[in-house]
Symmetry: C2
Subunit: 342 residues, 2 copies
């Protein structure tokens, strides 16, 4: 039987103690005579309540088994405060994820936030990645291509500035989901523009560059169904050709995967039509960007499993999308599952 | 019989005299002792050659009748130089378009570039819009939501800063295509990321705002098939709902149109599945972003008419997409066509 693994879930429902910590940081940033927060006050019962009434409830209702779980993406806000503030916030967020996993080891597995800051070397994020993977048992990370929050001041993901981090990813054998955070640029609505733009931007950077020649084992998940990419697949095939790059199949798609966070059936149909089944991982981003019920279907917009089931995939392909691809892209997840006899 | 009107063509093949002008401007910007260029030296024969060997040839080969034609989008480069430089460059570019139209009045009709500059009020673009529409007979304009070229320093399109220009658009009864130019931000490949992101961004700005309450007659074409929007149509319907906005049909889609610059059949199929036929205008952006032949089909990527014909639209819908919608969105085009007995 196929495990249903959702590769894209954030802890958007964390107990208020987490936000209290962040608010205390922000108060300190405004007025450094205020005390820096030293930790979060959250009970296990509060965590249970926040998970069992939300993510776990929906996971079960929708017939899924497990979520690859990370801190709330919009709250990473790498553009807020200093490097030290970002480091402290990130550590606290990751530690809360670890507590969720310890409470529900069969339903959640961790992916970490990184303590990025605009203008600060990504090498400064290596220690937290290593801590989360080797000490907390996390299986991947969320990498923000734009820690400035909508001003896009970092170099492209193919720039050598990112290489020290990629080396560590390869060494630890963990993938990164490319995921921006909130936007402080009024042009970009976070979930409606900034997220989707970042997905599209990252993919085009990979076409322009030759990153995967240098890192043949590096793996990225581009969320939100790959941004605009599948819809414009002809454009990207054509641009690769104009730029004298190899076929996308060889140039990018050995290393890049798309999730299924596309909130209507025609979008999912397109995704599966143009993208190879080996490059698609089931994801919903629940509880996340779009929380309502689609009046056209009577079901939650983000109940993406429903759209996938409607595809009537072969058993083999269904297994790939819901389980096999995730085990392959996140080898440390595979190891944990095997340890659980799954 | 239906006229086949391509709503999206740029003069990407202009004679070298135009680039000479621009290069002289750039030389002046580097060294103000250099002379500012005073005009372009381009013969009618050079224009004929550049058009008959490219756009007109392809128009005829593909069985289309007319292109709504504007200066090369990537060369607008509003971020280069001063306000005066942008004004002079824009005027020259629009005048060259006018010469194309005078030579081929049945095949081309003009849409103007605007002399935008980062940090300069859009009100400074009104005079050129007025000149192009009332003196040169143009039927619309290309409006750049990000004259900074990828730094996104302007206010969103729903901000009142843009209102003086919208008032003039409504008064003249001309629509704008929302079209960025080249990118000077290394994160964004122009045609592979910046263009598509801008389309997506503009649409989400319209969802967030209430612009069309203030301007019920304002009309925008979002090119490149609406960026990522149709692929994520469920997300946008859901976000409108979360933001307590009316249904997209009433909130945005009475004023916003998408072209068909989507370079593969599955993308076009999706566009026509989720977007109302009244909101889609045939466009190809030829000769443009992607110039090659798709090895999967043996035809040019940007031969979008072919994808549309494969939809087997009803006569009524086919007429809308190829002609009727364009006449409705560009009333001044309709008037010109009627004057030509078409």
């Amino acid at each position: 039987m196929t495990l249903i693994i959702d590769c894209h879930g954030h802890y958007t429902t964390a107990p208020a103690g987490l936000e209290d910590f962040r608010n205390a940081q922000k108060a300190y940033l405004k007025d450094p005579t205020q005390p820096l927060p030293q930790g979060v006050t959250i009970s296990d019962d509060q965590i249970r309540e926040s998970i069992e009434g939300n993510q776990l409830k929906l996971l079960k209702e929708r017939g899924a088994d497990m979520t690859i779980f990370s801190p709330r993406a919009s709250a990473m806000a790498h553009h807020v405060g200093t490097e030290a503030i970002s480091q402290a916030w990130t550590r606290v967020c990751n530690d809360v994820i670890k507590r969720v996993i310890d409470l529900y080891p069969e339903n959640f597995i961790g992916v970490c936030q990184l303590p990025q800051s605009p203008g600060v070397s990504i090498a400064k994020s290596i220690a937290e990645l290593e801590r989360c993977v080797t000490e907390l048992g996390f299986v991947g990370c969320n990498l923000n291509p734009d820690p400035s929050g909508g001003h896009w001041t970092s170099p492209p993901l193919t720039d050598k500035a990112w290489y020290p981090f990629y080396e560590k990813m390869v060494e630890l054998d963990v993938p990164a989901m490319i995921h921006v955070s909130g936007s402080c640029n009024p042009n970009f609505h976070a979930t409606g523009a900034h997220y989707i733009n970042a997905d599209t931007t990252a993919f085009m950077q990979f076409i322009e560059g030759d990153l995967f020649k240098d890192f043949p084992d590096l793996r990225f998940i581009i969320p939100h169904g790959g941004g605009a990419v599948p819809y414009h697949w002809g454009r990207y095939r054509g641009l690769a050709d104009m730029l004298k790059k190899p076929h996308l199949r060889d140039h990018v798609m050995k290393n890049v995967y798309f999730d299924t966070c596309v909130y209507h059936q025609p979008g999912i149909d397109l995704l599966f039509k143009v993208i190879d089944i080996d490059n698609i991982l089931f994801g919903s981003e629940m509880v996340g960007a779009v929380r309502g019920i689609d009046p056209e279907t009577g079901h939650y917009f983000d109940d993406t499993k429903r759209y996938l089931e409607a595809l009537n995939l072969s058993d083999e392909n269904r297994h790939k999308v819901f389980e096999g691809n995730a085990r392959r892209v996140y080898p440390r997840l595979d190891k944990v599952l095997k340890g659980q006899g799954r």
